[in-house]
């Protein structure tokens, strides 16, 4: 059963505020800009899963939004409905978006539309040839504000434990299925460049206010 909205809201507020405190201790000072951002956004998290599409690449790439920088062969392209204030781009620490045990790479900002296009790396399931990450079992939430490139496996375990403690659950099967139906087949991409450009088309579709950002990702390739 999904946690009541008030409980989820309270959890996100707790996680994010506690995280701000942790960040402060690590940095040796209070992250004023981040705190301001977090406080204003503490009442929101990921409101919905709108679209999900698997991808499998011929050429792997490095996932830079994770300290271990794993090599990526497969994953999910997701469109999330998020609290806009939580994703306003800032220069200080920003809440890291987690999908199950992985950090998500943001393609757009989402602060205008509330729609955030992300790439979620996954192991490749050799049996199915599809991403192993099961969206039916993977909670999606904004965790501690920090630099994603500094998030390692230990930090992920902590984040998951925190999410479980306050009852963060995956989206319902109904929502996941609906999102997958919109995504249907594998994204037609072979490498990171194609994946990024395909994600840009999702931005054009789901966050039309960021059309210009998408155009920046779709400049003609040098031949």
């Amino acid at each position: 059963m999904r946690a009541p909205r008030w409980l989820l809201t309270s959890f996100v507020a707790l996680v994010v505020l506690a995280a701000a405190g942790t960040a402060w201790m690590k940095a040796g000072s209070t992250p004023a800009a981040t705190t301001e951002h977090v406080v204003s956004a503490a009442s929101s998290g990921v409101r919905g899963l709108l679209f999900a599409q698997p991808f499998v690449l011929d050429q792997p790439y490095e996932h830079t939004w994770r300290a271990e920088r794993p090599s990526v062969r497969a994953g999910w392209l997701l469109v999330l409905d998020v609290e806009p204030e939580l994703v306003v781009p800032r220069q200080g620490y920003e809440p890291v978006l987690f999908v199950g045990n992985q950090t998500a790479e943001r393609i757009n900002h989402g602060d205008g539309s509330g729609h955030l296009v992300v790439i979620v790396p996954s192991e490749l399931d050799p049996a199915t040839g599809l991403p192993a990450l099961d969206l039916l079992a993977a909670p999606i939430w904004f965790g501690t504000p920090r630099l994603p490139e500094q998030v390692d496996a230990v930090a992920v375990v902590d984040e998951i434990a925190g999410a479980r403690r306050v009852g963060i659950k995956p989206f319902t099967a109904q929502k996941v299925i609906a999102a997958k139906q919109l995504g249907s087949t594998d994204a037609p991409v072979k490498n990171r460049t194609e994946l990024e450009r395909y994600a840009a088309t999702l931005v054009q579709t789901w966050a039309s206010d960021e059309y210009d950002l998408a155009q920046g990702l779709l400049q003609p390739l040098v031949q």
Partner: protein, 679 residues
């Protein structure tokens, strides 16, 4: 060693000087020392400083290097220094600059204004010997170069020929003066912009002179944006610098994951354009990118990223395919973050520049959070460096996308106020550090109050710092880094003072508030994070007070140097600062070995310390981070009307408070140095 040799040469010349000045003008032969070497003076002319600007008070006149088109150019001499000039009627020429060989080949004087001016020297002051050379109409168009050079000639015998005994400003070394086009205005070239991608995080927006095919190799300026920014938001930089002959490439920057990742995109995008210049836009750039002259500009996370990128290359952590650390000739960080450690974000000795916006509400410089403190990176640099704090500028005012300015505080200036500061400074930085242009130096080294682009609106307030890398013959009198007691300077000499609440310490605000209290004397000094050790002195006064530093015996000869340099700031949110509530200056005086004092100079004649930006928040009161301003006082000014003062044996420097400037105040003081000629 150099200074000792130089002193010996000067001792000889000094002994001869009174005799020389007493001789008839035509008989004088001045052979000035340069770098400790006596140079030939085949035409036996007087090498003089002549061109400059009048000041509203003592020392009355300021010899300067550069004038912007439209600024008045004046001529004057100190009649007490050149008593033999008094009563002489002469012709004064402004001529196109010539080198010594060119003068030797042709001594005919051709005034660029059409005719020379007749002038008679008089006794009295420099004010009584003023001559307006130009009301601002001299040509300053040097094409894609910068600054048209001129010399000023005193033709004593009025024969229209440069011959023995005539005086020249510009005979040795630099020209007499330069007239410069406004660096905030576009250069001579039309600009072409192209956008393309080399793949993931290799999107690039590149600007180049449209006639690039007819040009040679051009400097490469790389722009790395900040988090949530876009690589196509830096048109203002791209068009401006390309119009002056640069290739500017702004690239997709992977800032979302963090600084390490962003630094990689700076590195890889620089390599990409160098590797693929033969194919980008049909190869239009091919052979025109000067890979030995690269500038990195980064904004926000990108501003930290470019320093991290340089640090990686310099330490061998990253090995680019097409360039080395020495090819990165200049780095500029715009409101950079500081996520990483002191060691990771150390620009070493690269030429470094920083812009910060005092109204920035994102990377806000607050003592509450080291991540949003930019300035420690500037402090860390050991190279030549410049710093501009722009009051009223927000975080987003530095790009050109519009939208929210990420700004707060009074007197906001937006992009219309911020961009001219950026463009004029970037041109000066590129011209000087990349092309070795001399005329551009004045935009970097003179006080902002004294000299800046006419394109900058008059309501814009900028606190500017400039510091040379410490190389001989420059030397430090006191920089507070060692000998940390208040009675001994870092050079080991005695310090005397009767100022109040004198404290030397690390420039770190300790209590997460800008508010001042006796227990937090370094309030507003957000110039170091954990691991930094940048130090200065702070103190205040409510009655006439003096802060004096002795000079090492081996360094007392200031006569072969150009400037006494230091930086100072008003202490934010201090009761004395709040009471004064205006720009501030104080006096400086030298004392020689015989106990003679030089005239006291109010450095405010050249430009004052800014009033701390009256922004509220982060504690009680109004006033944001302390804004240091670099002060350079020409050493020759300390002998104005006082030939008896011995600049060859200066034993003590006095800073005078209360007797000059406001009767009470609070300042920070640092980096008291003597700057050698031409440095």
């Amino acid at each position: 060693m150099h200074r000792v040799r130089s002193s010996l040469v000067l001792a000889f010349l000094r002994a001869a000087a009174p005799l020389a000045l007493a001789l008839p003008v035509a008989a004088q032969v001045v052979v000035p020392p340069v770098g400790g070497v006596v140079r030939l003076n085949p035409l036996k002319v007087l090498d003089l400083e002549l061109a400059g600007e009048g000041l509203s008070g003592f020392p009355d006149f300021h010899y300067v290097r550069s004038f912007e088109v439209g600024r008045r150019i004046w001529f004057s001499i100190d009649p007490t220094r050149y008593p033999s000039f008094v009563g002489k009627n002469v012709d004064v020429y402004v001529v196109a600059h010539k080198t010594i060989p060119q003068w030797v080949a042709n001594q005919t004087l051709v005034d660029v204004r059409g005719a020379p001016q007749n002038f008679t020297f008089s006794a009295g002051t420099m004010g009584s010997n003023l001559l307006l050379l130009s009301a601002g109409a001299l040509n300053g168009d040097a094409g894609a170069g910068f600054g048209v050079p001129y010399d000023v000639v005193i033709d004593f015998n009025k024969n229209g020929i440069l011959n023995s005994g005539d005086g020249v400003d510009g005979f040795y070394g630099e020209p007499g003066f330069f007239v410069c086009k406004d660096p905030g205005q576009p250069g001579p070239y039309a600009v072409t912009e192209i956008q393309y991608s080399g793949g993931s995080f290799l999107g690039q927006d590149t600007y180049y002179p449209s006639n690039i095919a007819s040009l040679g190799k051009l400097p490469l300026v790389v722009v790395s944006h900040g988090n949530g920014h876009d690589y196509r938001w830096y048109d203002h930089i791209g068009f401006h610098l390309a119009s002056w002959g640069c290739i500017v490439m702004s690239h997709q920057n992977n800032t979302g994951p963090g600084i390490e990742t962003a630094s990689v995109t700076t590195l890889t995008n620089t390599d990409y354009i160098l590797t693929n210049q033969g194919t980008i836009n049909g190869g239009v750039l091919n052979g025109h990118i000067d890979a030995d002259n690269i500038v990195w500009i980064g904004h926000s996370r990108g501003g930290e990223g470019v320093v991290r990128a340089y640090n990686k290359v310099a330490t061998g952590v990253f090995v680019p395919a097409n360039y080395t650390a020495s090819d990165i000739r200049l780095i500029s960080s715009i409101a950079p973050t500081e996520f990483l450690t002191v060691g990771q974000i150390d620009p070493f000795d690269v030429n470094y520049h920083m812009f910060v916006g005092a109204s920035d509400s994102d990377v806000n410089g607050s003592p509450q959070n080291q991540i949003v403190q930019s300035t420690p990176i500037y402090e860390r640099c050991d190279g030549n460096k410049n710093y501009n704090s722009i009051q009223g500028a927000g975080h987003a005012d530095f790009h050109n996308n519009g939208g929210t300015c990420w700004c707060t505080g009074p007197a906001l200036i937006g992009m219309p106020g911020t961009h001219p500061v950026m463009l004029s400074n970037y041109l000066a930085l590129v011209k000087h550090y990349i092309e070795g242009n001399v005329a551009a130096r004045d935009y970097l080294e003179r006080s902002y109050d004294d000299f800046h682009s006419a394109s900058i609106p008059s309501n814009v307030i900028v606190a500017s710092e400039h510091k040379n890398a410490l190389v001989a013959p420059n030397f430090v009198v006191e920089n507070y880094q060692t000998q940390t007691g208040t009675t001994t300077s870092s050079s080991g000499t005695a310090v005397f003072s009767n100022v109040s609440n004198l404290v030397e310490g690390v420039m770190t605000d300790l209590d997460s508030s800008f508010s001042w209290s006796a227990g937090v004397p370094m309030n507003g000094m957000c110039r170091g994070i954990s691991g930094d050790n940048h130090r200065c002195a702070v103190f205040d006064w409510t009655a006439p007070s003096t802060y004096s530093i002795d000079v090492l015996p081996a360094q007392t000869d200031f006569s072969d140097d150009d400037f006494l340099s230091f930086r100072a700031c008003q202490g934010t949110r201090h009761p004395n600062t709040d009471a004064w509530n205006a720009p501030l200056s104080f006096g400086v005086q030298l004392e020689d070995v015989s106990g003679f004092f030089s005239p006291a100079i109010d450095f405010g004649e050249y430009g004052k310390l800014t009033r701390p930006y009256p922004r509220t928040g982060t504690g009680t009161g109004a006033g944001w981070a302390n804004e240091f301003v670099s002060v350079r006082i020409p050493l020759e000014a300390f002998t104005r009307y006082t030939p008896v003062f011995d600049l060859t044996q200066v034993v003590r420097i006095h800073f005078l408070f209360g007797s000059i400037g406001p009767s009470s105040g609070r300042v920070g003081l640092d980096d008291i140095e003597i700057i050698g000629k031409g440095l």
